[in-house]
């Protein structure tokens, strides 16, 4: 009986967070439907959505409003939400896997690698599934390179891994610059540049589907691996001594993370900071156990990226690229967290 009580206790303590976060997520989603350059009131936006399920009498709206809500804003909110959730999950998984609070898909080179793969596909193939595949392959190449560079030192410490990620990331960024240099100025260059800074402006239901087929299954895999991730966060040798098949866990997690990043990169370009900051925010509320941290990071990432995207499309007359806002918000949050946690465990190693 004791055992069951322990499980219930640990879940019950976090129930409040999940209830609140889900509610907040829903509120952000719904209010985002009514925010934007084209004026749609909150009531009308909600009515338009509900009308799809139960026809509503007595309220009327124009065709333009309906199209803006259903074909522009809703898919965009869904894409931002799923991508944000995926990046939160990916960041939480990487931080535990490498026992390192400073890693994230962008810092470990996976995102720049995937970005290069995506840019390559945009130039030469230009179908969205080819973009996902190419992003995935180059994201994977990037992380394999990072890990081999980090192994040059006898003990892969916090700093070496981050350093290797920065170096390999810079390498792929240079390759991207090379692509933009040779890209056709009239047709390809604007598309690549815009995409590289990250944007959900081209969101549609096909992209929602693409994310549902990549980010969702990969996130489910990571949720399933969450207890293994707890053990991995004690360090590799400790995990091996406890009887864990370390390399199988490591590659399962890295493959799943790369699928998530490739999906997000293919629909929205390279989005920085989400994978780094979101897991730290979530950890503040639910603690370090991945069984609750991974789902909590998904919710937090979802709310965060929808909020950021809404700011991007409504703050100024022209759209602001996503990475600009994620960095402007992410950097101060990260500094605050760093100060609060006295280094986020940085000094332990």
């Amino acid at each position: 009986m004791n055992g069951i009580n322990s499980i219930l206790n640990s879940l019950g303590a976090r129930f409040g967070f999940f209830a609140l976060a889900s509610l907040l997520c829903l509120l952000i989603m719904i209010s985002s439907l009514a925010i934007g350059r084209f004026d749609v009131s909150l009531g009308t936006a909600v009515s338009i959505l509900i009308d799809n399920l139960i026809p509503i009498q007595g309220v009327s709206w124009g065709l333009a409003e309906e199209r803006v809500v259903e074909l522009v804003r809703l898919p965009r909110i869904l894409v931002a939400g799923i991508a944000g959730a995926g990046l939160g999950v990916a960041g939480a998984a990487l931080q535990s896997l490498f026992r390192n609070p400073l890693v994230a898909p962008d810092i470990l080179g996976i995102a720049p690698g995937a970005g290069f793969g995506g840019a390559l596909a945009i130039m030469f193939v230009a179908t969205s599934w080819a973009t996902v595949l190419s992003s995935f392959v180059f994201g994977l190449i990037a992380i394999v390179l990072v890990m081999s560079v980090a192994r040059f030192t006898t003990r892969s410490s916090t700093l070496t891994l981050v350093l290797a990620g920065v170096v390999i990331g810079a390498f792929f960024s240079a390759l991207i610059s090379l692509l933009t240099y040779i890209a056709d100025v009239e047709s390809e260059l604007p598309a690549i540049l815009y995409w590289l800074l990250g944007s959900f402006a081209t969101a549609n239901y096909a992209k929602v589907a693409l994310l549902l087929f990549t980010v969702l299954p990969a996130s489910v895999v990571i949720v399933g691996l969450s207890f293994r991730l707890n053990v991995m966060s004690l360090g590799e040798s400790e995990a091996a001594a406890l009887g864990l098949d370390v390399s199988r866990v490591r590659w399962s997690v890295l493959l799943a993370v790369t699928v998530i990043v490739a999906g997000a990169v293919a629909v929205a370009g390279v989005i920085g900071w989400v994978g780094l900051v979101v897991p730290h925010l979530a950890r503040l509320f639910v603690g370090p156990s991945n069984r609750v941290l991974v789902p909590a990071s998904a919710l937090t990432g979802m709310a965060f990226l929808i909020l950021v995207d809404t700011l991007c499309r409504s703050l100024t007359a022209a759209e602001i690229p996503l990475s600009v806002i994620t960095a402007l918000i992410g950097a101060p949050i990260f500094i605050l967290l760093l100060r609060r946690a006295g280094g986020l465990g940085w000094s332990h190693d």
Partner: protein, 256 residues
């Protein structure tokens, strides 16, 4: 419980760490592993855990092996119970395993066994060094292992914390669990060991009962420092200590 036959290890053509080790450790026995740095104590423990391979020879070790490291830095704020549950469930098969009620139950029982039941909801990283070692001991017990390997479990501790851990190991000795513990302090062998394994330089070893193996000669040879086992009378009766000895004519203040 553990059977090593002709066990030898060397790294990439270097000198032998140890050579032709023939050692059999019986179930329920407590063996203390002594030797200077670099003689392969940790390597031997890793081989028994299956994390490293022998260069030559064979090792047989049926059943689950628990382990207690010298110390464990936990980066994130896991609770004591979280840590012990990892021991209970980590070795279960399947990638997608999640600890179940039975794992929590054995974790709590193990915490109570090492007198740390009240600490279950505390943050592991906030405990004292000795308390952390006791939690790690509970983690090894919770895994259901019949054999627990301890790699210098008191090396990072002050005297009071060291005493806590040693007292607990003394209690654990009589519980039927086989213990193999490496240490830099030969007095731990006097206090805990049924038998001792000495790993010397040049790949030599000695294995046997405490009285036959821990002689002044073998101890002094092992560490390259003159050591002597001394019986003293105390309030609690006769005690044995191991002291570093100096010949009187060389002692400071004695020269005339």
């Amino acid at each position: 419980m553990i059977k090593l036959s002709g066990a030898s290890v060397r790294y990439a053509g270097g000198p032998w760490l140890f050579r032709n080790l023939d050692v059999q450790i019986e179930a329920g026995e407590t063996v203390v592993l002594l030797g200077p740095n670099g003689t392969g104590k940790t390597t031997l423990l890793k081989i028994i855990m299956g994390l490293e391979a022998l260069t030559e020879g064979r090792v047989e070790c049926p059943g689950r092996v628990g382990h207690v490291p010298q110390s464990l830095n936990v980066l994130f704020e896991f609770s004591v119970l979280d840590i012990v549950v990892m021991g209970a469930a980590a070795a279960s098969k399947g990638l997608f395993v999640t600890p179940g009620p039975a794992d929590y139950q054995s974790a709590e029982a193990a915490l109570i066994q090492v007198d740390m039941g009240e600490f279950r909801d505390r943050v592991f990283a906030s405990l004292s060094g000795g308390e952390r070692q006791l939690v790690l001991l509970a983690r090894a017990i919770a895994s259901g292992a019949g054999l627990i390997l301890l790699d210098e479990p008191t090396a990072a501790l002050d005297l009071a914390n060291e005493e806590k851990v040693l007292a607990m190991l003394e209690r654990l000795r009589s519980s039927g669990i086989t213990l193999l513990m490496s240490t830099h302090n030969p007095e731990h062998a006097l206090r805990l060991a049924d038998r001792v394994l000495l790993l010397g330089r040049d790949g030599n070893y000695q294995f046997g009962s405490v009285d036959e193996t821990l002689t002044d000669r073998s101890l002094s040879d092992l560490y390259g420092v003159p050591l002597s086992r001394i019986q003293i009378e105390s309030d609690q009766g006769p005690l044995a200590i191991i002291a570093r000895v100096q010949r009187l004519e060389n002692a400071p203040g004695e020269s005339r």
